[in-house]
């Protein structure tokens, strides 16, 4: 069992992992990692490891779930039993059900659902290792998996959490920081038009602190967006460069 750390921010203003308050953890993203899924992507953000896959659009079964004028987006956020410190039962928890819903609602506005009536687009997010920010990282890779599947989108959806620890507003909390901090604010958005598609908050923030945290989260999302675009284009740029030689 982890001990509660005394301080989350030291005298030099650095966090337990050496980061500055507004610094993201190192992010590594790979697109197209699974051969069976129509689209897939994988992310490592600090110690969090999340895999997303998309199947579809395809006809919905059972038929009565189909919508006559648009596709149905279905999303499952799930944590592997070994992903957390104390083994988690594989059965879906209430938290996973809530997150599956808010993640689906975060991705819906980005997809041109009306192009594919009577179909479903199924998104699967598996948290292989959890160290904070899993719903955000899940949204980040799920939107890449959608793009990888060739699903037309208005924009990618980038997500990042801000929060408050030891009285200071910070970006991208680890699990320890989330558990021992004062507030957690996960945000997802379509960065091009700065449209927010996921916003949750728990903890305590004054309205001024909230505004600051929201801005910090939005900036974090923009950085994640750059990483997403790079990862999406990487495969093709690599081939182009190899061919140039």
């Amino acid at each position: 069992m982890s001990k509660t750390p005394e301080k989350l921010i030291n005298e030099k203003g650095l966090r337990l992992d050496g980061r500055k308050p507004d610094e993201l953890r190192p992010v590594k993203i790979e697109v197209g990692v699974l051969s069976n899924a129509d689209g897939s992507a994988y992310i490592e953000q600090g110690k969090s490891k999340i895999l997303a896959a998309v199947y579809g659009p395809k006809e919905v079964h059972p038929r009565h779930l189909a919508l006559p004028d648009r596709a149905v987006l279905r999303c499952r956020y799930h944590m592997a039993p070994f992903s957390v410190e104390q083994r988690k039962s594989p059965a879906p928890s209430r938290r996973e059900m809530e997150l599956s819903k808010v993640i689906r609602e975060a991705l819906e506005p980005a997809v041109f659902l009306e192009y594919y009536p009577r179909t479903s687009i199924d998104i699967f997010i598996e948290v292989l290792q959890a160290d904070g920010g899993t719903r955000c990282a899940g949204i980040t890779v799920a939107s890449l998996a959608l793009a990888d599947a060739g699903v037309p989108m208005r924009d990618l959806v980038a997500a990042c959490a801000a929060g408050k620890i030891d009285g200071k507003i910070v970006l991208d909390l680890t699990d320890t920081e989330d558990k021992n901090g004062e507030a957690d604010l996960p945000v997802a958005m379509m960065p091009t038009a700065e449209l927010i598609t996921l916003l949750q908050m728990d903890g305590m923030l004054t309205t001024e602190e909230f505004e600051e945290a929201l801005n910090v989260a939005v900036q974090g999302c923009k950085h994640i967006y750059e990483a997403q675009k790079e990862a999406l284009k990487a495969k093709y740029i690599e081939i182009k460069e190899a061919v140039q030689e």
């Binding site: 209430r94 599956s100 700065e194 927010i196 598609t197 908050m201």
Partner: protein, 266 residues
């Protein structure tokens, strides 16, 4: 989003048109709540209870206390558990069965409001550290769904907690012995939820059922008594701009104060 019966396109247009002119189909202003009625102590068998009518939405909350074991990672804390049931009789769209994602979201949002505002201090509920604690069950029972279940449920939950009794007890030889008489459950805060719907790019407070049917997104802001935000939840598909979110926070600040007066007597 809880699916409501299909609203005709004509009505949808009407609702949206009115809203762009600052009015709603039931005559309310954009930031007005419907009529609210709160009744406490309605279920005598429960340790605490309240019924809230928010317009035609009706929610009943019962609070039950039990003695149980604490979680291993927080041995000195009591347990708070919030559950919500979208009772099938409340709406043609509610089916019998285990809680679906809407019921779970509702319960968890109300839970966060109570928990994060520290309305109940869980250490207060500890009986024998590491062994016995009070478990507070807050059960939300939706009786009629006419929109904005979150605000109605949060209000009913708070009202129920304000009149929750804890039985007197004594700890003797590592056992908890119940004694006659009650005292009130100590409440240190009063979280109030204010929910907005975005329709035609405008925000309205306390959406009723048909507004929920046409809304593009939903935002709930829960504020505690000092004016700090203790929980937020964007719901529904759709999106919000940062500007709209900050506007909602400002409005929620005022509205939560108004609503709080109905539940907590100064």
């Amino acid at each position: 989003m809880i699916p409501s019966s299909i609203i005709t396109r004509v009505k949808q247009k009407r609702i949206a048109q009115l809203i762009s002119r600052g009015k709603r189909i039931d005559g309310r202003n954009l930031y007005d709540y419907r009529e609210i009625q709160i009744e406490t102590g309605v279920i005598e068998r429960a340790e605490g209870s309240a019924r809230v009518k928010l317009g035609k939405t009706e929610v009943l909350v019962g609070v039950k206390l039990e003695i149980g074991e604490p979680f291993s990672d927080v041995p000195n804390e009591g347990v708070l558990t919030v559950n919500a049931e979208l009772v099938p009789l409340a709406s043609p769209t509610f089916e019998p069965g285990p809680p679906d994602e809407n019921a779970i979201e509702l319960a968890r949002v109300v839970d966060r409001g109570i928990r994060e505002s520290k309305a109940i201090v869980l250490e207060d509920l500890c009986l024998i550290p590491g062994k016995k604690v009070f478990v507070v069950f807050v059960d939300i029972y939706v009786l009629n769904h006419d929109g904005n279940l979150i605000d109605a449920s949060a209000l009913a939950a708070l009202a129920a907690l304000t009149n929750t009794k804890i039985f007197n007890y004594e700890v003797k030889d590592d056992e908890v012995v119940i004694k006659p008489g009650y005292k009130k459950l100590p409440l240190r805060n009063s979280p109030i939820a204010v929910t907005f719907a975005k329709i035609n790019d405008r925000l309205v407070v306390d959406p009723w059922l048909e507004e929920e049917g046409v809304m593009e997104a939903r935002l709930t802001v829960i504020m505690e008594k000092e004016g700090k935000i203790c929980a937020m939840q964007k719901g529904g598909g759709g999106y919000l701009t940062p500007k709209q979110i900050l506007e909602a926070v400002k409005v929620a600040s005022e509205k939560s104060k108004e609503l709080r007066k109905l539940v907590v007597k100064e």
